[in-house]
Symmetry: C2
Subunit: 398 residues, 2 copies
């Protein structure tokens, strides 16, 4: 392509991790790599029933174009779910998105000029970094501990970054670390956003996959100045193949996101919205979520048991209260990317996501994200045993 276009096209860069992850798609590999929910838990029979019903409705409305911001009934139902979760709102406060991923894209397009700073956890969700990248942000990062983002450090970070415009956070069972932002820190984050005139992008794809304890209030429910853009998703509580997410935000922000929706793809699939809406009418989503929680809690325990049994003892794994991931920490100097490429994939036939991609600024290669939702308990045990064997063998070679 000619030089004239090359500079413009350079706005969009490939992710370094993409090719490595593609290798993990080989079915002979036990993959802890994807953020995939457990397909055996998909409500296939119910979805079959609701798709059948919407496709046979007289008039064919489910197959036709729909309002850009989403079917009114579905927005109303989601407003009901949000209200029950502590964010009083109506259908007008809800924008249906093509997965919550689209909300990440829209927030950056709407708020970030090149060189503006996005503040994130360190590490943070890789997919968000990919979504933000075409808007060409700079980053300031804040470490996390067992209580989530270090909001004491956040205060100093904001003071040092006058170009900060948005705080991006995954406050419940964060991807990739699994940690949850404590209530005290949620309040501090909101206070800091108010003080520094920032937007907060709250991304909650795993919020309802909670194994123990009570849900903490969303940042949106603590938002006193209309600064929080709250993103939700059905991908982990229904099925990812529907691609239905949503944003709840102040009228000003939501209206702008709505205009971006018209521009970006006109609408999310009418069929999928209609089917999801009918599912919520016909079936008990809360009961389905209870089933998911129980199943994922068992799988998490299976993985942590296997890690304790098979991996070298000094490798630590987070024990999240919910979500789909555990985050491993290896000793300093260990390169999880090289290990996956040279040992885990070809020899142990196991994939994970090397941790360094999740760091916006300074990669720390001695980490890995492991997903326990997708593989069966038997495959978890087998895969972790093989990984442990390879790690032990690797050490004896030093």
């Amino acid at each position: 392509m000619t030089p004239r276009y090359a500079q413009r096209m350079a706005k969009v860069q490939p992710s370094a991790i993409g090719e490595l992850l593609a290798l993990g798609a080989d079915p002979s590999i036990i993959s802890f790599g994807g953020g995939y929910p457990d397909a055996t838990l998909f409500p296939a029979t119910q979805l079959d029933a609701v798709f059948h019903e919407v496709l046979r409705q007289p008039g064919g409305a489910a197959m036709q174009y729909a309002p850009s911001n989403g079917l009114p009934r579905l927005r109303d139902q989601i407003a009901g779910l949000m209200t029950a979760d502590g964010v009083p709102c109506t259908a007008d406060d809800v924008l249906i998105l093509q997965g919550s991923q689209q909300g990440l894209d829209f927030a950056a397009r709407m708020l970030i000029d090149p060189g503006d700073v996005i503040v994130t956890e360190d590490p943070t969700f890789l997919g968000a970094l990919i979504a933000f990248q075409p808007s060409q942000p700079d980053y300031a990062v804040v470490p996390v501990d067992a209580e989530g983002m270090r909001t004491d450090i956040l205060a100093a970070t904001l003071a040092a970054n006058p170009r900060a415009r948005m705080i991006y956070t995954v406050p419940d069972f964060q991807n990739p670390t699994g940690v949850t932002l404590s209530l005290a820190r949620r309040k501090e984050l909101i206070a800091l956003a108010n003080r520094h005139d920032l937007i907060v992008l709250e991304d909650t794809p795993y919020r309802h996959i909670r194994f123990a304890g009570e849900s903490l209030p969303t940042l949106k429910s603590l938002d006193t100045e209309g600064r929080v853009i709250h993103l939700g998703s059905f991908s982990k509580v229904l099925v990812p193949g529907l691609r239905i997410g949503w944003a709840v935000a102040s009228p000003d922000l939501l209206a702008r996101m709505g205009l971006l929706k018209v521009a970006a793809d006109t609408q999310t699939s009418t069929l999928n919205m209609a089917a999801a809406s009918l599912f919520l009418d016909r079936y008990d989503l809360a009961a389905h979520i209870v089933t998911l929680r129980q199943a994922y809690a068992r799988k998490k325990e299976a993985m942590l048991d296997a890690i304790r049994q098979y991996l070298p003892q000094d490798i630590t794994a987070t024990d999240p209260e919910g979500g789909l991931f555990t985050w491993l920490t290896f000793d300093e100097g260990f390169d999880a990317t090289a290990f996956m490429r040279d040992v885990a994939l070809p020899k142990a036939r196991v994939a994970y996501v090397p941790g360094e991609s999740f760091f916006p600024l300074t990669p720390r290669p001695n980490h890995a994200r492991l997903n326990y939702s997708a593989p069966s308990e038997a495959m978890i045990r087998t895969g972790i045993a093989a990984l442990g064997h390879a790690l032990h063998a690797h050490r004896s070679l030093r």
Copy 2:
């Protein structure tokens, strides 16, 4: 919202026509306003069958995450359709999009910096102007006649616009005028793009809704330098509610669009892609398209007959060889926007799309776009009669 964000958010502006069109959604109004295909022609029974089958496939793959560029089988099938239509290609040349609208958004995001010039027909598709707007282009416009874009004037326009970066065209049964770019002009357009180092964005949502004559070669099939981004869509030949479109472009351009896809929404709905793919395997799309052509040809004739019968004789309507629209030209000085707001909607209870929104630079209010695909033949006759009555009455008041 604070001033700091207002400037950034101003990148996204509402469409002036949106509110007026929303009024036309009232079911007591006969609407010629939408670009809606005829819902009575939707293959509901077949879609019901394929959704049922994909939802009950063991393993639930249709409900899970899918590759970002689209299910390989569907890309392969689309490559087959493109090859049969004169563009030899394989699955690797195809990117699945959230409707072809997403291709408009991606092309602008990838190629246009603020102030770069997009060259379009005058008038052009309003939805494209909405898609391009966040990238903040300037426009240069080229009039159309019965053979489509005036490529003789295009040559002068390009010479006068060194910041031109992209030519956007709907060469088959254009929205809104219905005209088709002749073969001679297609070759001239490609030659001019080559000479001036431009990308050509070829948008073909109506291409297969042809009533008479033979399809002309796509611009993509005439592309010698990899400059044409070809967008296709199932919205008008299957159903809009699936939101499945595609791009075919040179590897460089397609790869960048693929990265934008990962960033923008991760993927189009797996379920819809799987169902569309199975539909193409099970059923005869070409036979379905023949049915659509016959039905829409009849409706076009019904509308043109009614226009000849009921509207003042000096109002002209295009007689397209395909597509969903006819374009009316009223006398100079007639304001179709005001007439719709003040007379057609409230009194005649008829909606159309006022033409002025389709002009990127200088609006010409004495036009209207009428859609004949959505309403029944009876409603076409009734609505055009009411419109004609109102127009005659309006004249007698002058």
